[in-house]
Amino acid sequence: MSAAPKVEALNPLFDKRLINAFVDGVLKTLKTIANTEATPGKPFIEPQFVLKGEIAGMVGMVAPPLKGTLLISYGKDSIFHILENMLGEKHTEINGEVSDAVGEMTNMIYGSAKTTLNQLGYNFEMAIPTVISGKFNITHADKGATLVIPFNLANNSTFYVEITVQ
């Protein structure tokens, strides 16, 4: 077996493999547990946090010397659509059950992406996600930008994967 590939010194947000790992993690998770097809849109860079939706799963990503945040934000339309497909449950409001599902999906998506990335030479550690809802703002301690990947669902709703790396 050859040595693990060296992680490029440039900002990991420009590493296409990192973006693909998260895109694949999202698609695989939704397809497997919720029989839901999502279509990734064009990724873009956001210099400052902008609120997208009403609920989000967040996980701190640590891969020394890298540190970052994964945030997956959903509007009601997108999360209720996923939950109906996943558990057969119809939700009309954000409650504890919806939060729990967002947390578990964040866990699975990060776990899936992390496995791929670590095979590529990164060294991401596992972490327990946090769920935030309502009107929130996120201020990153560093000056790094955020990569945003939109995902579109069959009911014309969108959710967003946001990756910030220091």
């Binding site: 998770t29 059950e97 578990e104 596992m126």
Partner: protein, 141 residues
């Protein structure tokens, strides 16, 4: 394969994952399923069920949980002669070699990587059954 009356304990800190596993087990014909939200809650339940003469016959536990992790619950079960032969499957978001080796070393029956569907879980359960009951006759399909 395990009979439909098999008593399951599903351990996960996320209610959603417990629901998903329960749904998958129901799809496979298993309805005797109880839940615990982490290892710390599960261990006394496993002990009490055994003492009551209705032991769990299959434990499915998440790995990454606050309180008591799945790997520690597995080790606690394996260290107790009453539960060391109970089939124990770990559910994990990790598919990395070091975790797989740690679980195998601790005596896990099998592990399943999230996300998974009913066919994947069924395949894993068949492997666990063959491992725990090597002399059982395979059911004709």
């Amino acid at each position: 394969m395990f009979p439909n009356t098999t008593k399951f304990l599903v351990v996960d800190d996320f209610a959603t994952m417990r629901k998903i596993i329960k749904k998958v087990l129901t799809e496979l014909g298993y309805t005797n399923v109880e839940e615990a939200d982490d290892g710390k809650t599960a261990l006394p339940m496993i002990q009490a069920a055994h003492d009551a003469g209705k032991p769990y016959e299959f434990i499915i536990s998440d790995w990454n949980m606050p309180g008591m992790q799945g790997i520690d619950l597995l080790k606690a079960c394996k260290a107790d002669p009453r539960f060391k032969n109970t089939p124990f499957m770990l559910v994990t978001a990790e598919s990395e070699q070091k975790h797989i080796l740690e679980a195998a070393k601790a005596g896990v029956s099998d592990y399943v990587v999230k996300p998974f569907n009913s066919q994947t879980l069924k395949g894993k359960m068949e492997r666990v059954y063959a491992k725990h009951y090597p002399n059982a006759q395979p059911k004709a399909s």
